[in-house]
């Protein structure tokens, strides 16, 4: 049970016209782990995430979520078991934050309005937003609050698999730390599986169990953070051995 593959990618190719951005990607995400997708800008991370979310079809290859093909996933309503935090939040702009968080609950459960409201407030509290913020429209929130509200919506149905697209981008360091803590806490208490794209080296060192490094259309390195950062490939080296990379690594290995 523990080593069950939640997400499985086999021989994945993605091409836009003649330009290919993925060539023969293979990896799997196991239940209960925090899995990071790393890579330079334009290396096709977000496209990969969209394919894993079944929003976009790969040119060739298969993706299995919860061990099932995309068609079965649609048929069996497995989408309810995944939650997504989009890069820019993607909150519904005509609804208040509270209504945004309640939308999946309204759609998929038969809870009473009172309980629904309390659960919405609870999710907001979990991501560190005061209940009063629920009344606001997404346009009235700051960038960091927007991100947290979007995370609250992603968590609304307590998904088993959570996709995060740059969760800490645009957050101040304290909020980013709090978000890392929250993700770890949720993983430990809910048994959540997390797939995230991130450029935040602190998050990578603190939270990620395993990661893959995308570049030159392939997976340049994969495994634990220690294994990846020890890779000899020049692109990976440049990513982790730059000034920023070294600082984060030292912080991770010399806590306090």
């Amino acid at each position: 049970m523990m080593n069950e593959n939640i997400l499985e990618v086999r021989n994945l190719h993605t091409c836009f016209g003649r330009e290919c951005i993925h060539e023969d990607l293979n990896f799997e995400v196991r239940r209960g782990e925090i899995f990071a997708i790393v890579g330079g800008s334009g290396s096709g991370k977000t496209v990969l995430l969209r394919e894993a979310l079944l929003l976009q079809e790969p040119t060739a290859g298969t993706i299995k979520v919860f061990g099932e093909t995309p068609r079965q996933v649609e048929k069996n309503g497995l989408r309810q078991r995944t939650g997504v935090l989009f890069q820019h939040g993607a909150l519904f702009s005509s609804l208040t934050v509270q209504q945004n968080v309640e939308t999946p609950i309204i759609e998929h459960t038969t809870l009473s309005p009172g309980l629904r409201h309390e659960l919405g407030c609870l999710k907001l509290a979990l991501v560190g937003l005061a209940s009063e913020n629920g009344r606001k429209l997404p346009a009235q929130l700051s960038g960091g609050m927007l991100k947290r509200a979007a995370l609250a919506r992603a968590l609304a149905l307590d998904p088993e698999l959570l996709f995060l697209d740059e969760p800490t981008a645009g957050l101040d360091p304290a909020s980013a730390d709090a978000l890392d803590d929250l993700i770890l806490q949720l993983r430990d208490s809910l048994g959540l599986t997390v797939v995230m794209i991130t450029h935040d080296l602190d998050t990578l060192w603190r939270a990620a169990d395993r990661a893959i490094f995308l570049g030159e259309r392939r997976i340049l390195a994969g495994g634990t953070m220690k294994q990846i950062s020890g890779s000899g490939h020049p692109l990976v080296k440049a990513y982790f051995q730059g000034n920023r990379g070294r600082g984060a690594r030292e912080a991770a290995w010399n806590p306090g």
């Binding site: 649609e74 048929k75 069996n76 309503g77 989408r79 309810q80 078991r81 702009s93 005509s94 509270q98 609950i105 759609e107 998929h108 459960t109 038969t110 809870l111 309980l115 409201h117 309390e118 659960l119 407030c121 609870l122 999710k123 509290a125 979990l126 005061a130 209940s131 009063e132 629920g134 009344r135 429209l137 997404p138 346009a139 009235q140 968590l155 609304a156 149905l157 307590d158 806490q185 430990d188 208490s189 809910l190 048994g191």
Partner: protein, 377 residues
């Protein structure tokens, strides 16, 4: 989505002989709906000490943990002492996580409903504000326009020409087709009546007067309001949402110069031309009908036109067009600038823009009629 998760249910058993509450089944978001009345009645157990047994729990998530917290809250309010058993491992962690956030949650009261008087007051106030802002906008347009007219080399000619192409050339097919159909309809309805009296030739007076003087300009203005005015609002509104307007300002380009002025000028050039086109195709439609229904040849139809209407009527129809163009472009741009916040606002302002510009065009048309009849033209 039609497919649902396999039915799972949550259960709660109060045992009175042994003071124990048993949690059973799946305490998860999709299942706790079956726990209709999870709270014990005060008379359930006369004693104080109660055990909560989570040993038979199959699954627990944040919603379940929240409900468990509520249950405990009720037990406490009944002055009972509770003990939680068999909640181990990550479920215990989750329960504690949810409990720790409980103090942060203050259910927010829904906003107060407004009374009739308050609604009327607020609406009037809002409308006055909009009218005020529109007036200010028109004033600003006029002053910028004047500034540019005395320094015409500062006008952005390529932009104006782009607008002429976008609003004019691309609208030719739809305007031509609709005014042709209008001429056909008008001539058909008229000829049915005129034939009864044998006054066939007066079909020319009827169609030429209505088309030249009123319908061509009005019809074209309505089409352009729906087609171009709406596009102006949506474009400027989206630019506002994505902060492009602010970007323009920081680069030192007044959005007004770049976005409003070329559109107003472009449309003022375009609309009279489109109206002229509508005149021609409308009359052509009428001529076709007159020939087929009343046997009036093209030549006699055309010969009759100068006798039927004066040059003044024809010119008056065209004079209205630049005024309509100004109304449409100004309202379209104005509503675009009024977009606030997010995507839904763009849609709302676009609707408002079309409704208001058509409304104002018809009001202006009525005003023209009154004005012309005063001057006896």
């Amino acid at each position: 989505m039609t497919a649902r998760l396999p039915p799972k249910s949550a259960g709660l058993v109060f045992e009175a002989d042994y003071p124990r509450v048993r949690l059973t089944g799946y305490w998860i978001t999709t299942a706790i709906g079956s726990l209709d009345e999870p709270m014990p009645s005060p008379g359930w157990w006369p004693g104080r000490a109660v055990t909560i047994d989570a040993g038979e729990l199959r699954a627990l998530d944040t919603a379940g943990a929240w409900l468990l917290g509520k249950l405990i809250g009720v037990l406490e309010s009944q002055q009972r002492e509770w003990r939680l058993e068999n909640l181990e491992g990550h479920r215990r962690t989750l329960f504690e996580l949810v409990q720790s956030r409980q103090s942060d949650i203050r259910p927010v009261e829904p906003p107060r409903r407004q009374g009739m008087l308050e609604q009327v007051g607020r609406a009037s106030h809002d409308h006055l504000n909009v009218a005020n802002a529109l007036l200010a906008f028109i004033g600003e347009s006029a002053s910028v326009l004047f500034n540019h007219l005395i320094r015409p080399w500062r006008l952005r000619l390529p932009l104006i020409l782009t607008e002429v192409e976008e609003a004019g050339v691309r609208a030719v097919p739809i305007v031509a087709l609709l005014s042709f159909l209008l001429g056909v309809t008008l001539a058909y309805q008229g000829s049915v009546q005129l034939r009864i009296y044998g006054a066939n030739i007066y079909i020319v007076d009827l169609t030429a007067l209505t088309i030249f003087r009123e319908l061509a300009s009005l019809m074209t203005a309505v089409i352009v309001a729906g087609r171009t005015g709406a596009a102006y609002t949506a474009e400027i509104g989206t630019m506002k949402v994505t902060e492009e307007l602010d970007a323009l300002r920081t680069i030192g380009i007044p959005p007004f110069d770049l976005l409003v002025l070329p559109r107003i000028l472009g449309l003022m050039i375009t609309l009279p031309l489109l109206t002229l086109l509508a005149d021609v195709t409308g009359i052509f439609g009428a001529m076709l009908m007159a020939k087929s229904l009343l046997d009036i040849s093209f030549q006699s139809f055309l010969d009759r036109i100068p006798e039927a209407i004066s040059m003044a009527s024809f010119v008056l129809g065209l004079i209205k067009a630049p005024v309509f163009a100004m109304i449409i472009a100004a309202v379209g741009c104005f509503q675009g600038f009024r977009v606030t916040g997010a995507a839904d606002s763009v849609g709302r302002q676009t609707t408002l823009s079309v409704v208001q510009s058509i409304f104002l065009v018809i009001v202006a048309d009525a005003a023209f009629s009154v004005l012309f009849s005063w001057f006896g033209i």
